[in-house]
Point group: C2
Chain length 352, copies 2
């Protein structure tokens, strides 16, 4: 998937808003050059940036025929419908897309490859269906070797799930590249994998192989200078901590960025109290250290719900509390966190 | 499986030794009343207790026909062959067993139910094939509700995998029952599940549902007075920590027994240094406490490789080091650890 230059039509049919079309919005924000157009008969012709706050200039069209005029090679399912199932009405369109020469890219729970009609149409048209949520068949147990590679490993951890760990790593990766690092963002969840064009759906691995799946992500990228690994869940999240643990030990980070949302007091989906940051930082270092020594070197704050002045105060308060550099990458950019990376590891080999 | 009284013929064909026939040995030790005979043409007629140190009086026979004379209703695969695959030569025998009215019980990686010939033979003979390693299809995320049940939850944790956590819980469960507790051993691995007749193969769950799978074990037994939950892996094991974490948060223990082998300096399978016990105890309490407050209340030592006097010294040394009661349940019984349980929770409702 990574080898071919993608040119995507993003299907959001009737759901082009920031909540339903989260995948579409993230892809438009982080891969604008790979988006040919959006297919949505309800929003056709509208200014997309006014609808979802990103994607300025990307055309919205009403039909597949119109979309094909923009010469896409891939159709991305841009929404996450309730239950993760493919709306029945869409299947006909997807078969048409395959017949028209498009590959399909999907993060749905329901695997498109397992639909006999779609699989048949893809085979006939010699097109590829990629279900990013499907893990490889040949995963195995971790051998504890990620810690031995030369690639530096920065892992996003957090005080909760859905707190912005992916965005922090994407922004840090972009900033590191600007400074000359041979860097790569390493995706561990569906949206990240669609953005990066590769990665591992960590939450769908067999538990015995969860650490091993994370390890593989590092081993496949061992010749990079530095890796920014997307986090998943949280060590303190009652439902997702197994996934988080596998990622933490499997990738064997030597540094971590702690992501935190100051306005959130309990964890999402399954509420439990979020402990104070200094406790969480110490705990993450102790747990990681069972396998590979690792330091939390900076704090990524999510101040989305705060005023500008409150956000600024929160940054200062967090830095005093933890003794670590803190910032909100959306408000202030990722410079401060990449400064922390360079303080910890030194400058890149080919610094710009 | 639990409802019907099992009467098992254990198949070990040519591998009746304590290494290859670990499943057979554990079942003979903990469920002697459910074992009709052992089927092994190479060991037929021999004194089984001399071969594997347990199972005194259990007959070893050479053929299925002889085994049927002992009126079994189930055939248990008693070995774990390399790779977890069923030896080809055994299939014919298993089909014969089904035809003769036996259910099949297997902990192999390779699911017998997925072999078309075996599935067909089972359907025809109206017999059941149970693959204990296959998790239920309807697992889901944890809702963090195990902590709310009245059943007390004791979880075995450890400084490593393969350290005796299952045995410690089985012995504690038996001792608690003797004292009048309405207790249940909760199995989380293949051998434990075969012994208990129920449980959850924690290492084969989808990672997103690992915590939820552990939670289900508790919810299905919420009306018990006390649960002794078999541990899996170790928080500090580089390959298995995701499974351990899911079990720790999903079952929401209020007390833990730390299992430790003093002669082991690095973890098994994938070596990494084992930290000192006081550090591990504190770390387990902190990690568990993210979801539900839990105390380590005793130490289960594995002194298998030590002399009697060294073992005794180790018990005293461990108690001084940790301030907690310590014992080796195989050498000295589980009384001391169940005393610790009663000190922590009080006496059972119907104390004997």
């Amino acid at each position: 998937m990574a080898a071919k230059q993608r040119r995507m039509v993003i299907l959001t049919e009737g759901q082009l808003n920031i909540w339903s079309a989260k995948t579409a919005v993230s892809v438009m924000r982080y891969c604008p050059d790979e988006v040919a157009c959006v297919l949505d008969s309800k929003a056709a012709g509208q200014d997309i940036s006014k609808l979802v706050g990103t994607g300025k200039g990307i055309p919205v069209v009403a039909t597949l025929k119109e979309a094909l005029a923009f010469k896409p090679n891939t159709l991305l399912i841009g929404i996450a419908p309730v239950g993760g199932h493919l709306p029945k009405a869409w299947k006909k369109l997807l078969i048409e897309a395959l017949k028209s020469g498009l590959d399909l890219l999907s993060g749905l729970h329901e695997f498109l490859n397992e639909d006999p009609d779609l699989a048949k149409a893809a085979a006939k048209a010699k097109r590829k269906i990629t279900d990013v949520r499907k893990p490889p068949d040949d995963l195995d147990c971790s051998e504890n070797i990620a810690k031995n590679v030369k690639a530096k490993r920065v892992l996003a951890v957090g005080s909760d799930c859905n707190i912005g760990k992916m965005s922090v790593m994407l922004e840090m990766n972009a900033e590191a590249k600007r400074r000359g690092w041979n860097a790569e963002f390493v995706a561990t969840g569906q949206t990240g994998i669609i953005i990066a064009g590769s990665g591992m759906p960590m939450d769908r691995t067999i538990s015995d192989f969860t650490n091993g799946a994370a390890e593989r992500l590092v081993m496949e990228r061992k010749n990079r200078e530095i890796l920014f690994v997307e986090g998943q869940g949280a060590i303190g999240h009652p439902a997702y901590s197994a996934v988080t643990m596998g990622l933490l030990h499997g990738t064997a980070p030597d540094s971590m960025i702690m992501c935190h949302c100051p306005t959130r007091k309990v964890t999402r989906h399954v509420p439990t109290e979020i402990p104070p940051l200094p406790f969480l930082i110490d705990l993450h270092e102790k747990i990681a250290g069972l396998v590979c020594s690792a330091k939390v070197i900076g704090i990524g704050l999510n101040t989305f719900e705060m005023s500008a002045s409150d956000a600024q105060k929160e940054v200062e308060k967090t830095e005093t509390l933890t003794g670590l550099p803190a910032t909100d990458v959306y408000r202030y950019g990722a410079e401060k966190l990449v400064d922390a990376v360079e303080k910890f590891y030194g400058k890149p080999k080919k610094a710009k």
